[in-house]
Amino acid sequence: MSPIIKLTNVCKSFGSLVVLDGLDMEVAQGEKVALIGPSGSGKSTVLRTIMTLETISGGEIEIDGEALWHMRRNGKLVAADEAHLRKMRSKVGMVFQQFNLFPHWSVLKNVVNPLRTVLGLSAQDARARAEELLALVGLKDKLNAYPGNLSGGQQQRVAIARALAMRPRIMLFDEVTSALDPELVGEVLNVLRLLAHEHDLTMIMVTHQMGFAREIADRVLFFEKGRIVEAGKPDKVFTNPDSDRTRAFLNAVLQG
């Protein structure tokens, strides 16, 4: 089966800083992939380019068999316009380290408004779907609360529900537990565990939770300096990596 995400020779620089250096990466439909690696190695940038929050400097990204940053017009390949980007974005959802809930809206409205405004659902359908997802993440009793009155763990669960409600085929998670107090990490990981059982949902997670990555990922990619240094099954990468650099990183993380 063709991959749902395919990066070919993707390059990204900020000025003279090369962040992605000819990256090749494929993710199969329904696959759960964990990205690990030192800070600054370009993990977030990979997710952000897939979400179209960053442009790429070179190479090609395909989502679901279609170019992300290009489109065909009269048989020619041209730069993607906003309409093409919006079509592609509808397949992808993202959850951020800092939650990024809309603070002026209640929990319910955070989930309902995108359904109404972006997907054009009726008020009734949007509310039903929002309640269903907020129940899934265990926040049925917080519908009318405002983000500022929730704990970090609760906010992040709302953010997950909000992204899922759009029914993306791909979910991107960028260190979604890194901003949380340690005692709140578990409740968010539990939600991710639940999602990992969704057979069709493709998930890419950037994480420093090695135990969690090992538990739910189908495949682990170790990043360094904008390249994939090692890729493989979690058991193999975590216990017997091929690369010395992977080993050094894991030793440092697991001790620290």
Partner: protein, 217 residues
């Protein structure tokens, strides 16, 4: 000591109070124009196309660097030469509205920049159109913190309205002038103008402080 004739003052007060309605109307209309104009300008200065950004920026710099009085004279005396002649009041509020929109654009800009960029990113990830994200997500967060600043601009505009007398708008100052020049008695009308401005400014400032208290909560 300067003699102050209370009976005379009392006799001209109704006329002055009536004229202050024109002052208030000029303030409210030109402030509304400045609020709308400022929004257009700030969006223009942040447009994705340099061909829009640059001219808007240049116009804003130009207007901010020239005196309001000169701009009013230009609108009032020069525009009719091009076949555009508006009443003094309309010319006045248009001039003040345009002038202040250039300052208010800056206030909006600060408000927009105070909204965390993660809000734009979340809106993009949820596939909002840019315009919908702006109207529903960014502006509702950008505007409340700048309301006190905007209100202070309104008070500043209010205190600037006597300049409209220079283009023959019969507002408070102009009315006082007319009364004064009838008998060459300036003390009473000018004192009353000052007191009326003082009273209205104090009320407005109190309202702003109240608003600020509300928003801080």
């Amino acid at each position: 000591m300067i003699p102050f004739d209370f009976d005379y003052a009392r006799s001209i007060l109704p006329l002055l109070l009536e004229a202050s309605l024109v002052t208030i109307a000029a303030t409210v209309v030109s402030f509304a124009a400045a609020l709308a104009g400022g929004l257009v300008l700030v969006l223009g200065m942040r447009a994705p196309f340099a061909a829009v950004r640059w001219p808007v920026w240049a116009v804003v710099q130009f207007i901010r660097s020239t005196p309001l009085l000169v701009q009013l004279y230009f609108l009032f005396f020069v525009l009719p030469g091009f076949g555009i002649s508006l009443s003094p009041f309309v010319t006045g509020v248009a001039g003040m509205g345009i002038h202040y929109s250039c300052y208010i654009a800056e206030v909006y800009r600060a408000g927009l920049e105070s909204v965390h960029k993660g809000q734009w990113e979340a809106a993009t990830a949820l596939n909002y159109r840019k315009s919908a994200a702006m109207v529903q997500i960014i502006l509702p967060q950008a505007i409340p913190p700048i309301i006190p600043v905007l209100a202070n601009y309104m008070i500043a505009m209010f205190k600037d309205t006597p300049i409209l007398a220079s283009i023959t708008v019969i507002e408070l100052m102009q009315t006082a002038n007319i009364i004064a020049s009838e008998k060459f008695l300036y003390v009473e009308p000018m004192t009353l103008v000052g007191l009326i401005f003082l009273a209205m400014s104090l009320v407005a400032s109190a309202c702003v402080r109240l608003l600020q208290g509300r928003l801080a909560r």
